[in-house]
């Protein structure tokens, strides 16, 4: 037994990602070593052969994500793990997976950038790259865990969402989360919801690789299952063959968008603490959310109430909820381990009267609760 079901263990964030992948039924891992994500590849190299699952170290990250897509098309749930420089190389494959609607999971343990940057230190500098890194309009799902238990849970959720929405899902722990160790009580296996790979049940001659359904997603057949079909990164029709007919191009592109935008309820995941009663709210995700919680406790002792708004699902951005909950606030403080990325989304969703205040840290270290407390004291 690789996943310590029902037990309590001291586990590292990256280890929890690897265990989450096993729990979700990973069948294929392809990757290229890079700090601070390498433990994920190393642990899976140990676990997967024991389960008769396939693991490979490819020649680079472009090859890794390409192999992943091939692996999933051939019927294995597939995941890779990387960090900034590798994530940049994976943008080509991410776009291909979006376009061809192949479910894969890409873990990007965020380190300081740009370029080689701060290999061993934390950042949240890739959240916009996760959204817009590959070219062309495309749907994106990205999740940001804030602790080791969530590394386990959100990896399973990433696999599930990728299957439900037939699209790549990006897990975005920052280096602090990937490398921290915490005591985790693992659930019982029967309490974990794992979405199996959907398979078509129509006769072969009726199969459309991109069938137009009300959910905007149709079950994908695997190579070798008797449904022969064509996959291409060229814009394609329902059967998967290249097309330039206006109506077919528009139908494809709109369906790609709508499969996310029309099902936001299934994707949105936010945590809020005292938001309603506070006129000042801290908007934080990943490791910074932990500091925000600690800051809130310190401020409480000083008889200052502040709210916390935390998106767990970063993309799609929780537009409606941000508008509903934050549009009437005096101040929204957005601490981030970058020079200001998600803050633009908060600004976009709040009226001008809301003061949206940045707090950056870019030296590779965590934003401390005290820094947040100071920033709050300054604005109120």
């Amino acid at each position: 037994m690789i996943v310590p079901w029902g037990e309590t263990r001291l586990v590292q964030g990256n280890e929890a990602v690897a265990l989450g992948a096993v729990a979700a039924g990973i069948g294929f891992f392809a990757g290229y070593p890079i700090t601070p994500s390498t433990e994920i590849a190393e642990l899976l190299a140990k676990y997967m052969p024991l389960l008769d699952k396939k693991w490979i170290q490819m020649e680079d990250e472009i090859a890794s994500i390409s192999a992943l897509i091939g692996g999933r098309l051939a019927g294995s749930k597939s995941m890779t793990a990387t960090s900034g420089p590798g994530f940049s190389l994976m943008q080509e494959g991410l776009g291909y997976a979006c376009m061809t609607e192949v479910p894969i999971v890409v873990v990007n343990v965020m380190r300081g950038g740009p370029s080689t940057g701060l290999p061993t230190q934390a950042a949240q500098g890739d959240v916009m790259q996760a959204r817009w890194g590959t070219h062309g309009d495309h749907p994106v799902i990205a999740l940001a865990p804030c602790n080791v238990k969530e590394c386990f849970e959100l990896t399973i959720r990433a696999f599930n969402l990728s299957e439900i929405f037939r699209t790549p899902v990006i897990l975005l722990p920052d280096e602090i989360i990937g490398h921290m160790r915490e005591r985790v009580r693992f659930p019982l296996e029967e309490d974990v919801d794992v979405v199996p790979m959907p398979v078509p049940d129509v006769p072969v001659e009726w199969y459309e690789h991109y069938h137009e359904s009300t959910s905007n997603v149709s079950p994908m057949a695997s190579f070798g299952s008797g449904y022969r079909y064509h996959v291409t990164g060229l814009t394609h029709d329902k059967d998967g063959f290249p097309t330039r007919k206006e109506d077919e191009v528009i139908a494809k592109m709109e369906r790609l968008k709508h499969k996310i935008t029309r099902r936001l309820d299934e994707l949105e995941d936010v945590q809020m603490h005292d938001v309603e009663e506070s006129s000042v709210v801290i908007f934080a995700y990943g490791s910074v959310y932990r500091s925000a919680l600690a800051a809130q406790a310190i401020l409480k002792k000083k008889r200052k109430t502040v709210g916390i708004f935390r998106p767990v699902t970063l993309w799609p951005f929780p537009d409606r909820t941000v508008k509903e909950m934050l549009d009437s606030k005096d101040v929204v403080l957005v601490p981030e381990l970058n020079q200001g990325q998600i803050i633009h989304e908060v600004e976009r969703m709040t009226r001008d009267s809301v003061r949206v205040v940045p707090l950056h840290r870019i030296d590779g270290y965590e934003i401390t609760p005290e820094e947040i407390v100071d920033a709050v004291m300054e604005v109120i």
Partner: protein, 278 residues
């Protein structure tokens, strides 16, 4: 009496996907014919075949054949194919690629596919240039040749695809041409039969770009060049060194048995389980 339809047609998406995109006189369709005849000789079920490709004129081939077909990104066909083969080793995986696709942007992937000896057959249509984008030079453009990006002639030396693949560890390496079709059919068949990484380089004309830029004549003249400028291995043996000057050698250069990546991985799983007592 109804006309007899060549058996090759049953492997084509004949009704839906034709006419094809290739120019008159292009060599790529001939390679497709050889692949189909070799597939038929193997007796493979169409459901169990995966044809992957990258980007380029050659890489448009998968759309026309009735297999599981995967048209990927430029140069990455073998990386996608590696994932397919690992996830389902039962599938017969082949990769069709242009010379630019396989040796320039995909050069890293092909040497590692060969080194791993992954059980995939790579078929490289070498037309000495980037056909699809209008005839720029490729890693196999001969010295001195004109292309749209070598208006003063090619100054870089080219790759010898077969030597490269031999050095990288492929189990089977052959070179044929689209003029010598029976020979090419046979090479591809032998490549399919080989366990491990097999490579067939098929020399082919691109009259539209390479031919025109170098005033090599039309499709017929370019075919004649394939006939005149190549010799097979027995001709090579019989000829004196000065007679072989400038000739390209056809033939099977490597045919060795080494354990494929898939088999080594299966053994690793077995050993890991025994080692862990499970």
């Amino acid at each position: 009496m109804s006309p007899t339809i060549p058996y090759e047609y049953k492997y084509l998406r004949a009704k839906k996907r034709f006419p094809h995109v290739w120019c008159p006189g292009c060599g790529i369709g001939i390679v497709m014919g050889s692949i189909i005849r070799a597939v038929d000789a193997m007796g493979w079920d169409k459901d169990d075949i995966v044809m992957v490709s990258g980007i380029g004129c050659t890489s448009r081939m998968p759309v026309y054949v009735d297999f599981n077909t995967l048209h990927t990104t430029h140069g990455r066909g073998l990386a996608f194919g590696t994932g397919v083969k690992m996830a389902n080793p039962r599938l017969n995986v082949m990769a069709v690629m242009g010379d630019g696709d396989s040796l320039a942007i995909g050069g890293n992937h092909i040497i590692h596919a060969a080194r791993r000896n992954i059980d995939i057959t790579a078929i490289i249509v070498n037309n000495n240039n980037y056909g699809m984008t209008g005839g720029q030079f490729s890693p196999t453009t001969p010295p001195g040749a004109k292309t749209s990006t070598t208006p003063y002639g090619m100054i870089e030396p080219g790759f010898d695809v077969c030597k490269l693949m031999d050095g990288a560890g492929a189990s089977f390496v052959a070179r044929g041409t689209v003029y010598h079709v029976t020979e090419l059919d046979n090479m591809i068949l032998k490549a399919f039969r080989k366990k491990g990484f097999s490579v067939v380089e098929a020399l082919a004309p691109c009259p539209t770009n390479f031919g025109r830029a170098n005033r090599l004549g039309g499709p017929v003249e370019m075919m004649q060049l394939l006939k005149d400028n190549t010799i097979n291995l027995s001709q090579l043996k019989a000829m004196k060194p000065d007679q072989t000057e400038g000739k390209i050698v056809r033939g099977i250069f490597v045919d060795r048995d080494s354990i494929s990546y898939g088999d080594r991985y299966a053994a690793l799983c077995e050993n890991a389980r025994i080692g862990s007592g499970g």
